[in-house]
């Protein structure tokens, strides 16, 4: 894609995102679904920072998504009813956890990295599941909700107004995505691409591979925790399913479905996946089979994803 084409594509994406609550109803959706697309899109794009742009296969990102969600929910419930505080606590929790765990696993590669990340993720699931008195156990954490945001002169009522929360989430999304785009365009981001393309050569050039992968892992986990935090705020609720391993798998399939070699691919994958999940689970009890079939079909017939295929067509 040419530079102009890419810019035009950016404009289209942002225009669609900015107007989504107004046309979502016309195609059978609702505002909350639009918010879910943005939140899951952020999660999938964050995962893709590591998966698509560093070439490291993490299958445990739900853990940090869930840490963001639980941190937010617990801070609002137990410390003080303030949305900003909740988000800060959730993100800090995920940052600390990913920095520690990342340091232990950073030398693993390929399937082994995937296996270790997914197994570590389960620790948080069992803590959330078992520590009833604090986390609400299997029933999830209720009895709290997102708080209106004070902007000095006026108040943004993200609790009462669905659309207000959508635009709040979109603003957070924009900040995170902008930061990721800047990081990827920086020398650091270029180095990550070099590691993805040929780790051995990058190592011979004197690049500290482990430090770069560790940093990329932490950055990716921090952004995914922002998505988790927004997800808890969206539902005014969180439960252990937010950090179970099937959620990790869903993030990966979103990234692959949309195209993990392109910046916007995971967002598109997330939009398709969320819409499909919403539609199928309202139609049939056997939605698991349908979602499973999506995994199988994407891998067998669509491994480069939607944007990968489109880009291939454009180049031909």
């Amino acid at each position: 894609m040419s530079a102009n084409g890419r810019r035009a594509f950016d404009v289209v994406i942002w225009a669609l995102l900015l107007t989504m609550p107004y046309w979502m109803g016309a195609i059978g959706g609702y505002t909350e679904l639009a918010t879910r697309v943005v939140v899951m899109g952020l999660a999938a794009m964050s995962l893709n920072f590591l998966l698509g742009f560093t070439g490291v296969l993490s299958f445990g990102h739900a853990a940090y998504f869930g840490l963001g969600a639980y941190g937010t929910a617990m801070a609002i419930k137990y410390i003080a009813p303030n949305t900003w505080l909740g988000m800060a606590v959730g993100i800090a929790a995920a940052a600390i956890a990913s920095a520690l765990i990342g340091a232990v696993i950073v030398r693993r590669r390929g399937v082994y990295f995937a296996m270790v990340t997914i197994a570590f993720g389960q620790v948080f699931y069992f803590i959330a599941f078992r520590w009833n008195t604090v986390t609400g156990g299997d029933d999830g954490l209720t009895g709290w909700h997102r708080m209106p945001i004070d902007l000095g002169l006026t108040q943004l009522d993200i609790y009462g107004e669905d659309k207000a929360f959508y635009y709040f989430a979109l603003a957070v999304f924009a900040v995170c995505v902008g930061m990721m785009a800047l990081l990827l365009a920086s020398p650091f981001g270029r180095t990550l691409l070099a590691i993805r393309e040929n780790e051995r050569r990058a190592r011979f050039l004197g690049i500290p591979i482990e430090r770069h992968i560790w940093l990329s892992f932490v950055i990716s986990c921090v952004f995914v925790s922002v998505a988790g935090s927004l997800y808890a705020l969206l539902n005014n609720f969180t439960d252990p399913r937010a950090l179970r391993f099937d959620q990790s798998g869903n993030f990966v399939i979103m990234a692959v479905l949309g195209g993990m070699r392109s910046f916007w691919g995971p967002l598109i994958g997330a939009a398709v996946f969320v819409a499909l999940q919403d539609y199928v689970s309202s139609r049939t009890e056997n939605w698991m089979s349908v979602i499973g079939l999506v995994f199988v079909l994407v891998v067998r017939f669509f491994p480069r994803g939607i944007l990968g295929v489109l880009r291939g067509k454009a180049a031909a």
Partner: protein, 289 residues
């Protein structure tokens, strides 16, 4: 107190035996083909439910023999149709495909046999306690441990002393060379996959007699099996076996003192192993990537 500890350690050993059986199959497939089979738990559950459905016709012993074989046959079909095209590619795709399969397996099992757990009858003479003092030592549990031991010995026997086993072990080290020497690698991978699934099916039937049947029975064994492989050391089947038993016992012991941490403790163990001995207990140096 001693009895309580013994009880929980014994329980842990039995659960650990299931982890080990499951992890051995996963390990076999991972070592030779580089695929983490997420659907392994689905195959285990399928083996259990097949045995449940076959029991009225074949009896317990017939079902015990036939159900794992049928599961393995299905495994061979899945490998041939879906997994074979992915060999040698990005490991991501094998993960995603088997992940999707796991969803489908669980759902189809639920569709056919219902979401509720169903009981599984084992012969009456196996269920009575062997000793009044150690009430937990029922015949079935002892029988199960013996059977697991036979299965594991059989697996190691096949791997160690047959031509097929030798080829599998050689292929784990260097598949290209094995292929150059005239071994049909595709068939080798298929058979290896079949063996792994057979063990999962067998574990399913045994687990059914002990824990009952539910569509998610296999999925809940999957994560601990990963931990068993990592703790035991990648590339070492003996390590996998040891890892499975070890985390089972550790989990059982934790039940005595701090029940709510009985699941989390195995992940703590994994963290410690990765910190102190990254290649795992019996893993070989240089194979950790």
């Amino acid at each position: 107190m001693t009895q309580l500890i013994l009880f929980d350690v014994f329980n842990g050993l039995i659960v650990g035996a299931f982890y080990a059986l499951m992890a051995l199959g996963l390990s076999l497939i991972l070592n030779l083909s580089g695929v983490i089979n997420f659907a392994h738990g689905g195959f285990l559950a399928l083996g259990a439910y097949l045995a449940y459905s076959l029991m009225p016709y074949l009896g317990f012993w017939g079902a015990l023999i036939v159900a794992p074989v049928l599961t393995a046959v299905l495994g061979l079909v899945v490998e041939r149709v879906l997994i074979r095209p992915l060999y040698g590619g990005d490991p991501l795709y094998g993960l995603l495909l088997t992940f999707g399969l796991a969803y489908i397996f669980e759902d189809v099992t639920r569709l056919i046999w219902g979401a509720q757990s169903v009981p599984f009858q084992v012969p009456a003479w196996l269920t009575s306690p062997l000793s009044s003092e150690y009430f937990f030592l029922t015949g079935y549990r002892v029988f199960m441990i013996i059977l697991v031991a036979i299965a594991v010995a059989g697996l190691f026997g096949v791997l160690g002393y047959t031509r097929l086993g030798m080829r599998i072990r050689a292929g784990t080290r260097d598949l290209d060379t094995v292929s150059t020497l005239g071994v049909n690698v595709r068939v080798l991978r298929s058979l290896n996959f079949g063996i792994g699934i057979y063990i999962a099916g067998l574990a399913g039937v045994l687990a059914a007699g002990l824990l009952g049947l539910s569509p998610t029975m296999g999925a809940s064994l999957l994560m601990p099996s990963f931990v068993a492989i990592i703790v035991g050391g990648l590339g070492s089947l003996l390590g996998t076996l040891l890892g499975g038993l070890l985390i089972g016992v550790a989990s059982g012991l934790t039940t005595v003192f701090f029940p709510s941490a009985s699941e989390a403790v195995i992940y703590v163990m994994m963290g410690l192993v990765l910190l102190l001995r990254p290649r795992g207990l019996l893993g070989e140096e240089g194979r950790i990537h």
